[in-house]
Amino acid sequence: MAESAARTRATPAAERTPGAVAESVRAYRLVVGMWMRSTMAYRASFVMTALGNLAATALDFVTIVLMFSHIHALGGFTLPEIALLYGTASTSFGLADLLAGSLDRLGERVRDGTFDTLLLRPAPVLAQVAADRFALRRLGRVTQGVLVLGWSLPRVDVHWTVVNVALLPVTLLAGAAIFCAVFVAGGAFQFWAGDAAQVQNSVTYGGATLLQYPPGIFSRELLRGVTFVVPLAFVNWLPCLRMLGRPDPLGLPGWVDFAGVPVALLCCALAGVVWRAGVRSYRSTGS
């Protein structure tokens, strides 16, 4: 039964129509609304976890500030410049984590067979899984990222030309889309290796940590990996280097700094293909 449901769900033509997108958004909002009401039942716990989320991510930045109690520049970047990298990476990742972070728990549903329930519901599966256990507390990370970004903007030496002003919000959204694609692809990967859910943490949380630091401090192999294999460099490194007027350590042509949006779209498309393949390969536990 689950298999046939998976087939109808994965029919590409039905999902590409604008009606299907609207349906996905509606399903997503309904499930999110339900989880938000459920969260608010334990208000004290929500406040604590939201503050905890903010504090947890803030500690990353505190660590960097502590480092700067000993130095004036890390990898040639001053504290406000690192804060720009940190703020953009943290905001983009925080948005993606809020919207699609629940996908990293898909493995549990595959393992215990409750994914069948999602397939049987008359709503798009991806929207349901992404909204599953929606955690409003993750706003903590976004808030913290925006605060650090706000602190850095008046302190960095950037010529606020029209291009640079426009580049910043576009970068934040394209970055969030790239991380969302990673979450979707990571979720799909769990159809095959549910127990290996942790691997995606190295790209999501690891990626967000990586992007807080200037690219110049990492080895070239690592930089090539996050540019050409998992294109995290497009989340904030390349556009931020452009804003700060600094060279890119890989020496890529200048136009790639503006390639964030097409790269994000490509990532989302690829993630969608992987997701469909994952759903098609799903076999119920049968219990």
Binding site: T49, L66, H70, V199
Partner: protein
């Protein structure tokens, strides 16, 4: 009775040894994080070559020891406390209390078994990977490794004792997720996982070194790196043992108060 708890330790070990793919995935993630942090420390120590009294090789060793101990010390969850809280919330804890085993002793034994597996399963490979990529300052003397093993064992008990107190909080709170998260954050920061405590500025560093969380990484790492050697290493072990005793006693006290709150309904 000792044999009983030893059996619980063995089962705790085996329970976690079952999940081989998850262990491999964890090792991969620890290694990636180790790489990222290593490069940031190289940049930092490049500017300040003897920061906190560490050479660059010692700082890098610190990074990989930290990644190796992360799972064993249950610094980002994976320990028993969430399970224990679920049992308190569902009322299953009444069954545990009815058993002819001490609540704290049972969970301590199970958690030591888990820690022993994660030390081997998730600790060794990341440190080996780190040693392949970077020049690490690993000691040659077996005595230092022995002292390190003792420091790690005591650190695990301190880690357990803190998480046992956290777990007991579920007797008072309906949803313990917030407390668990706060514990992670405080633990990550004050154990030295984010930055070695000896690189913390001024009084903050002194305070952090005196708190129990330092037993989870800073103290074992300092013993391994021989920043604390001879009598000082023994003093470091005594520091850990002292905190372990105090926190275990506090857990016992709180357990007494908490279990008096348990009301078992019939039916």
């Amino acid at each position: 009775m000792g044999g009983f708890y030893a059996a619980v330790v063995v089962r705790g070990f085996r329970r976690f040894a079952t999940y081989r793919v998850a262990t491999a995935a964890g090792v991969f993630t620890n290694t990636v994080f180790g790489l990222i942090i290593s490069y940031s420390y190289i940049a930092l120590w490049d500017q300040r070559p003897h920061l906190g009294g560490y050479t660059e090789a010692q700082a890098l060793t610190y990074v990989w020891v930290g990644q190796g101990l992360l799972a064993a010390m249950a610094q980002m969850g994976g320990g028993f406390e969430t399970e224990m809280m679920e049992r308190i919330n569902s009322g299953a804890i009444a069954v545990d209390l009815y058993r002819p085993a001490d609540l704290q002793g049972w969970w301590l034994a199970a958690d030591l078994g888990r820690a022993a597996f994660q030390l081997l399963g998730r600790g060794v490979v990341p440190i080996a990977c780190g040693a392949l990529v970077f020049d690490l300052a690993l000691p040659a003397s077996p005595l230092v490794w022995l002292l390190f093993a003792a420091a790690v064992a005591l650190g695990t008990v301190v880690s357990f004792a803190i998480r046992f107190l956290v777990g007991l909080s579920a007797f008072w709170l309906l949803d313990g997720a917030g407390v668990v998260q706060m514990t992670w954050i405080v633990g990550l920061f004050f154990s030295g996982m984010l930055l070695p405590l000896n690189a913390f500025p001024g009084a903050l560093g002194d305070i952090a070194q005196a708190l129990p969380w330092s037993a989870m990484l800073q103290v074992p790492a300092d013993v391994l790196l021989q920043r604390r050697h001879g009598a000082d290493a023994l003093l470091a072990l005594a520091f850990e043992a002292g905190w372990a005793a105090v926190l275990l006693a506090a857990g016992r006290l709180l357990q007494g108060v908490a279990t008096r709150r348990v009301v078992v309904h019939g039916g």
